[in-house]
């Protein structure tokens, strides 16, 4: 295979990235480890996303699921829902894809140093949140207490099983999980993610809450976080919207005067709580 290098001349032109590892996460989700073909690091921060392109099929915004690492590789976890994501699931190790980005805002990795963090992930929301969780665990001594709440619809939709197992065992973090609909083998907690809140204790004076999940989840989780005394300025969330450019131009991702592709996807709750169409 021969690939022509792409000059950095238009923000719409993708760069090539080569897939180095593929892992099946669930029936519908796959993890792709890849690196830019020119060997450069992607240069992202936890919470940012890229536009993933397959020539002839199109583009889709996908979160970078891994923290910036020593190696120049990065990971994307893709759920098969339509054209591009299904085509992605047919790719093999060694295949190349197009990448634009990284785009958008990132999780507050610096602001939360020395603070306690409550991570709340619903379903595939774990994919973007994982970049921050792993970052914190890699720099464990820079952060205070770590609590992770993870809710999935059913046990077969749990992602990153090895990592969940690691979190269950670690004594430097608290991990609680729930499923909405258990299967016969499930021995854990049953219920929507908010039903885990009575089991946790937070010190509101030094806790940050970082939430990523499906749109319906935010309102309910935020009520719980506020009930624990966490101020709006210490609640962060990552929003999904339709995106076509990543450049603040095409208008698809707009929430009032904000463009989720540029001003988000990570928002401080106090910046958006009063925006009509945000949550």
């Amino acid at each position: 295979m021969k690939y022509q290098p792409l000059a950095d001349i238009s923000p719409y032109l993708p760069q090539w990235a080569e897939i180095s590892r593929i892992q099946k996460l669930t029936e519908s989700e796959r993890l792709f480890e890849m690196h830019l073909a020119d060997g450069e690091p992607l240069g992202h921060k936890p919470g940012q996303f890229i536009e993933l392109s397959l020539l002839g099929i199109g583009e889709a915004p996908i979160s970078i699921s891994s923290p910036p690492g020593v190696e120049n590789s990065f990971e994307l976890a893709v759920r098969k829902v339509g054209n591009l994501t299904s085509a992605m699931h047919r790719l093999k190790v060694g295949d190349r894809v197009g990448i634009r980005g990284p785009f958008g805002t990132h999780f507050p990795v610096d602001e939360t140093q020395g603070k306690d963090i409550l991570f709340v992930a619903g379903g595939i929301g774990l994919v973007p949140l994982r970049s921050f969780i792993k970052f914190v665990l890699e720099h464990r001594r820079d952060y205070g207490e770590v609590t992770i709440l993870f809710g999935a619809r059913n046990p077969s939709e749990q992602l990153f099983l090895d990592e969940l197992e690691d979190w269950r065992r670690r004594d430097d973090l608290r991990y609680l999980e729930s499923v909405d609909r258990p299967d016969p083998n499930w021995t854990g907690h049953v219920g929507v993610i908010t039903t885990l809140f009575p089991y946790i204790h937070v010190d509101p004076s030094k806790t940050y809450c970082v939430v990523v999940g499906p749109p319906v989840m935010y309102r309910f989780v935020i009520v719980e976080a506020k009930a624990k005394g966490i101020p709006d300025t210490h609640i962060f969330l990552s929003l999904e919207r339709r995106m076509k450019c990543g450049l603040g131009k095409c208008g698809h991702c707009q929430i009032n005067h904000l463009y989720v592709c540029q001003d988000g996807p990570v928002f401080r709750y106090s910046d958006i709580f009063d925006l009509e169409e945000a949550l």
Partner: protein, 350 residues
């Protein structure tokens, strides 16, 4: 450069010269629209085709900078996949743009240059020479005077005013100056003619006042601040057809969709962008089915907020409506008219 005069008898000479040296685009009269004679921008192939006393064109000139569909790049798949950039640079002269449309172009220039500049828009814009013309007629639904777009002092290469016997021409750029110098027969305007231009322009501004806001334009963002829950949105939106015409004809609507188009050989294709519209029902819908503006009311209201507030606070520091009235004229249920909506909101608030 001082104001210049082109005699009416010398206009054809200028137009012919421009046709010989550039691709010349201008306004043509083609049949009837719902509001009388219909005017369109198109390629001028003889001086007689160029119309300068139009009231308003059906479509704004935005297609010259943001074509309804354009390739962002071409690509090939197969054993050696590659992308090839398409950078438009065809030089163009557009002859006959009204002040409100010039103002809209200036706003789009800022939008596409903001943040990460859009090389496609900017390349087209760079390659284009704009010749403005002050209006002689006002379209029935226009309200550009109250949007402070009756006259413009920048955003053109040349700006012409019809003084009856001749055209008086202001130069707005080096390109415009060169155009006059190379291709037109001109003489300096007399002080009488300069005075005539001033009075002609105040006459135009008066003509444009026939319809308008009942309050100053700069109050629109604050008016909207208080109107989010107004019953007017739903009242009007129940009649909305979600057809997107109001987006299509608007000189300051620029949202686009991006998708890949493959040739029949399945190895070559292009990534295209095409106009999209926030009034269309799937505009904010994501693949998992969630639609972030799923109701007609939310989509209908969004357009007014985007024009009157979001872009104002975001990039423009101005209302992104220039009062051309095209949306009002072409909305079938007649609910898209900004001046109507803003005035009614103001009434309800008082």
């Amino acid at each position: 450069m001082a104001l210049q005069i082109i005699e009416k008898s010398d206009l054809a000479f200028f137009v012919q010269n421009l046709m010989d040296h550039f691709q010349l685009e201008g306004v043509q009269s083609k049949g009837q629209s719902v509001y009388g004679q219909a005017f369109f921008y198109g390629t001028i192939r003889s001086p007689a085709e160029l119309c300068l006393d139009f009231d308003c064109t059906v479509m704004p000139p935005k297609k010259y900078f943001l074509p309804p569909q354009e390739a962002l790049f071409r690509f090939q798949t197969g054993p050696s996949p590659a992308c090839f950039e398409c950078r438009p640079n065809k030089p163009l002269v557009i002859f006959g743009i009204h002040p409100y449309d010039l103002k809209a172009i200036s706003q789009m220039d800022r939008v596409f240059a903001a943040g990460t500049p859009d090389p496609h828009y900017l390349a087209r814009r760079e390659a284009t020479i704009l010749i403005g013309i002050d209006p002689t007629h006002v379209a029935p639904r226009s309200f550009w005077a109250s949007m402070e777009a009756a006259v413009v002092s920048s955003g053109f290469d040349l700006m012409m005013t019809d003084l009856g016997a001749n055209y008086i021409v202001e130069t707005g750029s080096e390109k415009g100056k060169a155009l006059l110098g190379d291709y037109a027969k001109v003489r300096p305007a007399t002080s009488d003619e300069v005075r005539q231009r001033v009075s002609q322009r105040s006459h135009i501004a008066d003509m444009g006042q026939k319809r308008g806001l009942t309050f100053p334009k700069r109050e629109i963002p604050i008016l909207l601040q208080h109107s989010l829950t107004s019953p007017l949105w739903e009242e009007n939106a129940t009649k909305c057809l979600s057809c997107g015409t109001c987006n299509l004809v608007c000189p300051t609507c620029y949202c686009f969709d991006v998708w890949d188009d493959m040739e029949l050989n399945l190895t070559q294709g292009q990534r295209l962008r095409r106009w999209d519209g926030c009034l269309l029902s799937d505009f904010a819908r994501v693949a998992t089915g969630e639609n972030f503006r799923g109701t007609r009311t939310s989509r209908y209201r969004h357009r007014f907020y985007r024009k009157g507030q979001y872009l104002f606070f975001g990039i423009l520091d101005d209302v992104a409506c220039v009062g051309c009235g095209r949306c009002a004229a072409f909305c079938l249920p007649d609910i898209a008219d900004p001046v109507e909506v803003f005035n009614r909101l103001k009434e309800k608030l008082n």
